[in-house]
Symmetry: C7
Subunit: 74 residues, 7 copies
């Protein structure tokens, strides 16, 4: 996930598992399928975690960009 | 709900039941009828849930995009 | 209130009674008279409710879009 | 205060007394002298109320739009 | 401070003492020297007040517009 | 720090020591080296203060504009 | 990290270790690999700290700009 522009970095992470953290402290882990310039994200095979504990299996999930704080490879 | 751009993903979910979560922790479940680039959403046959408990039947509901955190198939 | 774009949906609700919920948990019920792309809303014959209890009769009210979470037919 | 676009509605309220409510729960009552597309507002002969109690006489006051929730005729 | 557009109103207040209130409840009183369309403000001979009590003499101060709620003549 | 537009004012403060206050109540004091229209700021020889107490020496620091409330000469 | 525009400053910090602080008080320390005009940031060899304590090794991390308060060389 290293590149000269932040979005290149996300592009390199396509189809890999990433951890997305939200302002409300929820975490979503899944395979990065899509993103746009607003950092709206789609994950596949996703699960929701709160305090590192799995709360729900979600299949796919659309995450609105402005609610995201950080994205990192799992 | 897999595609290369996040909005394609929402497009594939049209007329299917989705779960929309808000920053205020309310959840709306219903059939996805419409959305736009701001992620404003219209659901049909919707119900409002708080802590997974059904609070209200709403028929249709317009949800303002900037209040949404995640959208997932039910 | 069903259509392919969210604003068409609001357009179909013109002159009908709707419930508008705000981020501060206040609710305004009234006849939908006007809206714009920012989802600024004008209701006529409106009343303000807090926890489902009528607090005030308002006649007409202008509601700033960015304070709105959901809009639904009453 | 009825019209087909929300700003027409504000225009019809010019020189009439209106109640402006803020996200911080303060209320300003005064004669509507000016507004713009950001819903920045100027009131004349204004007073500030908190919990419906008059706190201050202000003469005129400029209110920044993004702090406003609702505007209604007094 | 009366005019047909809100910014005209600020323009008429140039070089006069105004009270600027912030979302964090701090108040700045000083001579209005400059403003722009974002309502960024510069005051001269300014002082900071919290709960109407003078906390600091500031000379001049730049106030970022999006932190402001209201501006009124002192 | 007096001029007809707020950014002129910041320009006049270049290379002088300023106090930058943030929405989270932290303060940064340092020499103003750079700013832009978003009010992103770079200070040199900076220190962080909380409740007027020096917490850290920082060398230089980049401060994101939307987190700033006020900027004043020290 | 001194230059006439804030983004030049970030540019000079490329490939150096920086400390990024977020609105939620988390800190990320790592090598600055990428940034854009929204101040979206990518760090390599990053770790997350809360109250100056290392919580997690992250490898690389994408940080959304609007959640950032300050960036400084470690």
């Amino acid at each position: 996930m290293e590149a000269s522009r932040p979005l290149d970095t996300l592009n390199n992470a396509r189809d890999k598992r990433v951890l997305v953290e939200l302002k409300n402290n929820k975490q979503y882990i899944g395979k990065l399928k899509a993103f746009d310039i607003h950092i709206n994200i789609v994950l596949a095979d996703a699960e929701e975690r709160i305090d590192s504990e799995v709360k729900r299996k979600l299949g796919s999930v659309f995450i609105r960009g402005d609610t995201i704080t950080v994205i990192s490879p799992e």
